[in-house]
Symmetry: C2
Subunit: 319 residues, 2 copies
């Protein structure tokens, strides 16, 4: 910068001001400085600037990852979420620092101006860890679970409710909910589902489910059909579970949707291309990402923000 100043015949501080578009600098001077900067391919030293300004212009995104990105964080959703976050953050000058919290946080992560937590599912360790180092934080997930946090989630209760309404409209009377309520978002889906059914005097069957995989879904449904052969509707907390369930239903001689209606969750490409194409509750992950990004920015800027819930709708396909 000093070199550049010499070349342009001004002082370093003027270079700084010119390149930052400060109104304090003469338009003509500014242009001259910028031309020289351009010519010499000069770029700010970010570390120096951040040191001086006491911020990093960085937001850490913490994703839960075991060796690879597993759990409900597999599939395309987190990518959409990440896409939304990245889009919104980079267009406002922030960088996105992608990280797990495996083996303690890196210095860079701790230096982030804010933190977005994704896919913390049932486990809340990461949340507490981040909270401890006192950075602004926003969480993706089930809103009600963490009342003191700013949480963005989609309207899981309404998602469950929509599934229930659909089953009622179809005249179904022996519905099942598939999903582990230990997972906050799943619990909310069940709540919405059950409370709507209850208005019609129906109580859903809720077998114990562990995991999020196709096989988990298939196994549970196999066992379930022994005990409750008269099941005629099935709402799964994820498309993967729903697909497993359909497989088991067919293997047990049930027709879908003639004998049993099935609704999944997340409206994944996998579900949409499945045969039969899966009906599913849709949530817009890109929008969610954008919203998460906005809220963390607000928090960083010292503004107050509240939790927020995104709309959800049912995509009816063949099942």
């Amino acid at each position: 910068m000093a070199d550049l100043a010499k070349i342009a015949g001004v002082s370093a501080i003027t270079v700084s001001r010119a390149l930052r578009e400060s109104p304090l600098v003469n338009a003509e001077t500014r242009e001259r400085v910028r031309a020289v900067a351009q010519e010499y391919g000069y770029a700010f030293n970010v570390s120096a600037r951040n040191l001086r300004l006491r911020r990093s212009m960085t937001v850490a995104v913490v994703v839960e990852m075991k060796p690879t990105l597993e759990r409900q964080m597999s599939g395309p959703y987190p990518l959409d979420l990440l896409g939304g976050i990245t889009q919104e953050l980079t267009t406002t000058g922030y960088s996105v620092l992608l990280t797990s919290l495996q083996g303690g946080a890196l210095p860079n992560v701790q230096a982030a101006d804010g933190v977005i937590l994704l896919g913390q599912g049932a486990n809340e360790d990461a949340m507490h860890a981040v909270q401890r180092w006192g950075r602004p934080m926003v969480v993706w997930g089930a809103v009600s679970r963490h009342e003191s946090q700013v949480v963005v989630g989609s309207d899981n209760r309404r998602g469950g409710s929509l599934a229930a309404d659909r089953f009622i409209a179809l005249g179904r009377s022996r519905p099942v909910f598939l999903g582990d309520p230990a997972h906050g978002e799943f619990a909310e889906r069940l709540e919405g589902f059950a409370s709507t059914l209850r208005k019609y005097g129906i109580e859903p069957i809720v077998p114990a489910v562990e995991g999020f995989t196709v096989n988990a879904g298939a196994e549970v449904v196999h066992a379930l059909l022994q005990k409750h052969p008269q099941v005629d509707a099935l709402f799964a907390a994820s498309d993967l579970l729903a697909i497993g369930a359909i497989r088991a239903l067919i293997e047990r001689g049930r027709r879908v949707p003639d004998d049993v209606s099935v609704i999944g969750y997340d409206d994944t490409p996998l579900g949409a291309t499945y045969v039969p194409p899966l009906s599913s509750v849709h949530q817009n992950f890109v929008d969610a990402g954008v919203l998460l990004a906005r809220k963390i920015r607000e928090l960083i800027d010292g503004q107050a923000t509240a939790s927020e819930t995104l709309p959800t709708h049912l995509v009816v396909r063949a099942t």
Copy 2:
């Protein structure tokens, strides 16, 4: 740090050394300093350190994203790639800066010690842009295309070759390749496919294909069957295309695999759960991510590295 030094009764530089586990400092002193640091929740100022050390301990990962993360970068692969990269980089002290190059690079991105380029497919603008600012760079994709670059890719030629071998073993004689060769990796798959078939005196049919979607696959195959009704094998450059193709085949009264064998690419969950379960060429994206990360580290450390190709294998399922 100065405060901490005072409290611990040493100088700032000793605090610095103690916290960095420098062997220059007495074990006992180190423990005392660390205890005090722990107690006061002290953490390094990363900007100051980076300024002093003239590096950022950051690697930028550039993903091609239109508003959302599209193209072949949709689906679960890039997440696995990202997972591998993040895992390897964070365990070696580097942070991962996720970014597109939409609207010019942010200062933070330019300050990265190295850059990994993902999903640059047919378009090489990003590559040239990054090249211009002279940072170490590693690219994911088709190796042969960019001879001056360090590229990590999976063995696309062998992938194509495996599909061809399989068709030959099944006695097929009228194979089709589905995929746009403008995309470097697809071109390599076609090369391997065609060259192996040629050994048996067979020339594949290669219809023009645009896009990567299920619908694109379906449309092309519908048109194709008019001109070439005797097609008996189909190798698609992606699982999505393969699924579209199967749909079209069935709609045209062909049985899969009895009348037409189909092989996809990427071995996605979508393909694996499809009915019928799709045979597909598998590549390990997590390993690829790890390798990309290792190579960028080597480059940052000033070591020489070469392009590398990862193994690939055929997963035979029902089609």
